[in-house]
Structure formats: C-alpha cells, structure tokens
Symmetry: C2
Subunit: 232 residues, 2 copies
Amino acid sequence: MTDAAAIADESSSAVPSLDDAEYRAAVLDVLGLLASGELASFARLAEDAPHAPDLVDRLTISRMAAGELAHIDALESYVSSLGGDLPALMERYRDVLSDFDARTVPRDWWERLIKTYIGYSLVLDFQREVAGHLDPATRAVVDEVLADSGHGDYVVGALGPVIAAEPQIGARLALWGRRIVGEGLGVASQVLAQHPDLVKLAGQALAGGPGAMLNRLSGEHARRMGRLGLTA
Amino acid sequence: MTDAAAIADESSSAVPSLDDAEYRAAVLDVLGLLASGELASFARLAEDAPHAPDLVDRLTISRMAAGELAHIDALESYVSSLGGDLPALMERYRDVLSDFDARTVPRDWWERLIKTYIGYSLVLDFQREVAGHLDPATRAVVDEVLADSGHGDYVVGALGPVIAAEPQIGARLALWGRRIVGEGLGVASQVLAQHPDLVKLAGQALAGGPGAMLNRLSGEHARRMGRLGLTA
C-alpha cells in the first residue's frame, strides 16, 4: 500500500476518537492553529480600525476584532477539557504571519481593506480545510470559532461601489489582491510542509494532497475577488 | 451671586433629571466622552498586546482590550434610549488623544506598560470626576463602563519586581511616568477648557473648580507610581 493510500484508508475509517492519543494530539495542534489565527485576526482588525475614515466604520471593525477574540475563550476552555494548555499550543504557530505582514504593508485604507479581506479569509479557508474531518465534539467548537465575522460583506459594501466607479482603482487593487493571495498561499504551503500532522488530520490524500487544497484556496480567493468586480 | 456660586448652587440642588433638556444634552456629551475613552483604551491595549514578551501576556492584554470595547455596547444602547446617536457624540472627542500619543511613543515594553497604566488610568480618573454627579439611571450605566479592567494590577505585578531589582530601570521609568502624566494633565485641562458643560456637570465649583480636579488627578497618579515603588 502506498503512503497516500494508507492515509486515505485512515481518513475513510470510522469517526476519529479523542481516546486515540495520536488523534487527540493532532486535534490539540489544530486548536492551537485556530487560536493563533483568531489572535492574528483580532490584531489585524484592531490595527485596521483606527485607520477607518469615520467613527461608524471604526466602531464596526473594532467590534469585529473583539468578536474574533471571544472565540479564543471557547477554544481555551475546550482545550483545557482535553488536558491541553492553549498558549503552549499557540507557540508553535507564533510567528507564522510575521513575514506575510512585513511584506504586505498597505499604502491606504482600500489596500488595508483588501489585505484583511483576502488575507484573513484565506486563513479562515485554510483552517476550515484542516478542520474538515474532526470528531463531532471538536467540530461543534470549531464551527463556532470559524463563523463568518461579517468583514467580507463589509468590504464588498464599502469597496464595491468605489471599484465600479473608478476602474483605475480597481486595477490597482486587483494587482494588490494578487500579491496578497500569493504571499498568503506561500504561508499556507509552508505551514503544511512544517506540520505534516495537519495534512494527515485534514485527510487531504483523499482529494489530491496539499496541492489540491491550495487549488481550492485559490478558487475561493477568485470568488471573493469576483464579489468586488475584480479578476483574481 | 458670582458665577461659581451659581454653579455651586445648581450642583447642590436636587438630583438632576433627564427631563431637563440642558442636563440631558450634557449627559449625552459626557457619554460621548466616555465612549471615546473606551475606544481609545481598546486601541491602546490592542496595540500593546502584540508587543508582549510572551503569549500569555499577549492574550491577557488582548482580552482587556476586548473588555473595554464591550462597554461601548452598553453606552450605545443607553444613548439610543435617550434619543442620541453615539458615533455623532464621539465625534466631538475624536482626536483628543492624538497629540498625546504622538508625543509619548514608548521605546520598550516597560515604557509601554507605564504609558498605558499611567495614561489610561488618568483618562479613567478624569471620566470618574466628570461623571461624579449624575442621575441614578445614568450613574448605573457609567459605573459599569468605568469599572477597573485589571490592567493596573497586571502592570504592578509585572513591573514591580523589575523595578525593585534594578534601580536604574526604576529611575528611567519614573522620569517616563512624569512625562506621561504631564502630557496627560495637559490633555485633561484642554478638554475642560473646550467643554465648559463638562465642568458644570461635574459640579467642580463645589470643590474648587478645574484646578482642584487636576490636583486630585495628580494625587491619584502619585498613588499609582507609589504602587510601583516610584516617586511621582
């Protein structure tokens, strides 16, 4: 049996159990990844907020930030119930997005909106892929944590009319979006390479491995750019 | 009767009523001030968090940030019940702390802790002074909003031992604390000068006017520096 077939066989077996020590360790790892993503989203949205053009937008985005953080409480109490320590689990993913952030400094409010829309939607999609084949108890916690914050709708509402009215701005933002997703997919593939347990947990062998996952992430990205009237 | 006596007379009269249009307008103004303070504290703590030396501290401070923001929801629903619009009320206090922030850029994590401890405790004390003589319904909302976030205890716990062990660091931070409080009292006196309705609402004439209030703020500051083993 090839390695891929072995993984596929494992993925297609019965619902995984938290009594299985190996599965449990992989679950704790993925919960650490999720919490790191939520903390990064909190920091990103909180940093965006003071740049908002008016107070209503600033409040809206600040509230989205606080909402992301609330998810961490749910993760922490679930991790504790499994005997884990959330901050220790988060350490493994600590600086995952530092390079991404350093290489994608937005020059204005629109680029900032696109960066958060594209970049953090990608983080969310990636997390959904990795968390796609969990036991029901873990799944229930994860589904709540990965719920839509409404940021995408906000960006489409705020930027869509600007892009429709000003094709030059649209062209610039399309380019910027391509840069964001390129850097983002780079991070995603790096995380997969460094954390083979995540790949195994996601059962990606069934669907073509990490490459196929990255293709699906690109597809979702194209759909999001389309919502703004932009080509990915 | 002098102006001061007239104000004192008004302050000592019966409990103010929200049916009084002038009082109600002053209350709405003070609620805008409070919400601006909470939003500024949220932004300050959220900006501090990623600089924290470890993940546990980063999470602790991020949670304090989210807690400040939750207060804004309480303010907004109360303001709505009074027929006001919170973002519009916040506009009046929009850039109050911009100069303060530009003039007090911390050079390291300790200076950052001191800035937030001293600066935002001063904002809180100022808000408590201004909101000291409100009707009971407003008071109930305000008391909850101005509750202690625990940041002071956190800073004393984190910095106290460092200062006790390293007098040179203590000396530098004492100087820094003096600069922060100097800039902060400058902002407070500017806000009082630009918003005479706040002074009137606070009933400060009874206790010696704005100058006396600033003295009380300095006293609270000295007590806080003392908790760190520093002289104000």
